[in-house]
Symmetry: C2
Subunit: 364 residues, 2 copies
């Protein structure tokens, strides 16, 4: 088989140490399954600011474009908290999304059986939860113009951002949601604020039309974003796939993640459009942050990063069997009672980053 090119961007905080555990999995894949990767590594976020003065270099973006998939750690570093709007570590991820056209962020919120008690919600409300949120990530208010802060003649100031969505932008992300739903529970809930925002009204119309034209076999419902925030708390298992815009998706996917009680377990994928050569740009990252408070201490949970790698195998290389092997190994390690500090509960054994990574390999 042809070489599989990966760009690895560990980023800040716990990024580098949890990424090392993925390297362990890759080594196993090469040993046991004869699958190897052509890997480049580079700096992003605070780590890049420190060395290059920018959160991400053009060179890194070009590399990301050239590979088959990007495996991302996390960015964010208190050292750069007051560095100004143009030097935020977060720019690294925003630029990668924009420049590679990574428009569909897939955010599974899944409760692992062994961790159902970890949620602040009652176990009977979340047990078996398995939602997929598809969030648009290159449009909406994150990127619309005009934007900025201007000073008015009277000396007061005005901050402006613009939410813009076009028919094709809505259609392509809705398509991702419908396609995913067909492989899952076959239900899509489209979320906006069509009762106050015209961009939401257009969103709803475009999703409805696409559904009627091409996806009538999938069940489609619509929900206002405020109601969706409530329903995720009231009865999260009513959802299969949720599709929504950039800003609502930011809040709702984080909310959904927290329902599981174990952020340290949740991966994500962000996909672009398939190009003329059949190549689809893609970035995979854990949903948790850089956790600067525990960085370098060997305590971080590497499982979300490992599961992000499993998503990479599945979505970028169609290696469903290998992805499933890794996912099962993670579930088994949890069932055996091993826990990192973030998911620790009475009666379990607390282990560090490396022991957890080794346990997954042993299980494989």
């Amino acid at each position: 088989s042809e070489t599989k090119k990966l760009l690895i961007l560990p980023g800040d905080g716990i990024g580098p140490e949890i990424m090392r555990e993925v390297a362990r999995i890759m080594a196993w894949m090469s040993r046991a399954r004869g699958i190897s990767f052509d890997i480049t590594e580079d700096l992003v976020g605070g780590a890049s600011l420190a060395v290059h003065g920018v959160p991400i270099r053009q060179e890194v973006i070009d590399k990301a474009r050239a590979v088959d998939a990007v495996l991302f750690g996390s960015v964010g570093d208190p050292k750069w908290a007051s560095a100004g709007f143009d030097r935020r570590p977060e720019i690294a991820i925003l630029k990668l999304r924009q420049e590679l056209g990574l428009f569909a962020n897939l955010r599974p919120a899944k409760v692992f059986d062994a961790l159902a008690e970890a949620s602040t919600l009652k176990p009977e409300v979340v047990r078996g939860l398995d939602i997929m949120i598809v969030r648009e990530t290159v449009g909406g208010i994150y990127f619309g113009n005009p934007r900025g802060i201007e000073t008015l003649p009277d000396g007061s100031r005005r901050g402006i951002n613009t939410e813009v969505y076009t028919t094709p932008e809505i259609e392509r992300v809705a398509r991702v949601a419908f396609d995913l739903a067909r492989k899952r529970g076959n239900r899509v809930c489209s979320v906006e604020k069509c009762n106050v925002m015209e961009s939401g009204l257009l969103w709803k119309e475009v999703v409805t039309d696409l559904h009627a034209r091409e996806y009538a076999d999938v069940e489609l419902t619509h929900m206002l974003a405020d109601n969706c925030a409530m329903q995720l708390v009231r009865n999260p298992r009513q959802f299969d796939v949720i599709v929504t815009g950039n800003l609502f998706g930011d809040l709702l996917s984080d909310l959904a993640s927290m329902l599981t009680g174990s952020l340290g377990m949740l991966p994500s994928a962000t996909l672009g459009a398939v190009d003329a050569n059949g190549k689809r740009p893609a970035l995979y990252e854990p949903i948790h942050g850089s956790a600067p408070d525990i960085a370098g201490k060997g305590q971080a949970n590497p499982l979300a990063q490992i599961l992000s790698f499993a998503m990479l195998l599945r979505y970028s290389f169609d290696m469903h069997e290998d992805a499933a092997l890794i996912e099962t190994a993670v579930a088994n390690v949890l069932a055996s009672g091993l826990r990192t500090a973030d998911i620790m509960s009475p009666g379990m054994a607390v282990v560090g980053t490396e022991v957890m990574g080794e346990a997954v390999v042993r299980e494989l």
Copy 2:
């Protein structure tokens, strides 16, 4: 004492029947405490659309301006669901906010001891919860221009909304939050997305400056909106007062309400600016919707509407004693085991709207 002028707008669905239970409380106040109100009533929402063809008449807005306080039921009617963007029943509430300058929406999320089990969250996470969310309600993306849907030369369409916040708009709502915090836990958490939106960056700066200038005695923290959605699920009791913009406030206040497990219990107030005569426009409404499915059946929970009236007494007339009397009566009725269907739990007695209203009066 001078006459207290109220405009009562029952609206749609269960609005009229729960408002009748407030009338019962008013009758008691006149009998037992010699306090009476000068009341006008009118139509809004679907009820107004049906008779007048518009969700709210200018005449009703003028009346709302003339009175001391507006007591609002709820709007929303499936009959008008496809009536078009300009004839949504919701326009009634949006117009009242805009035209009366009702810029600060106070949304308490409080767990009643007797109902702690009703939440989908574990009782130990929510027991004693008492958050106040202060949401800006006349600015932000709800009202900014340009807005609309336009057709592009290639036939595709584009939906646009604009988020705008100015220094004075941010300051006045932050002031409401700081003032409230001083009478509560003395802590304010300001919420925005300053890492991706300049309007959020300005928000954070203005709140920080105001705090340093006038409210240094109050503890101020800042939080990103996505993180706030998570923290409300992870550990909601960490919050005292949250202040945020219109759109984030819409989602976060509904999310916070659902943590209590009993939407049928939660009131709200929306306040404007004190004018030259010392008068402050104000509107009070339950946070639940019009619940068309149970409308007219006498099953609706009147307590949020009754508690909205208590808020009206407190915020518009400084009648703290009377407000507290009503609030205690409601808590006692719950403690005695009476429940409407929405908050029913095993071992309690299910009652209808009228019996619940009567029970509160008896308790008074």
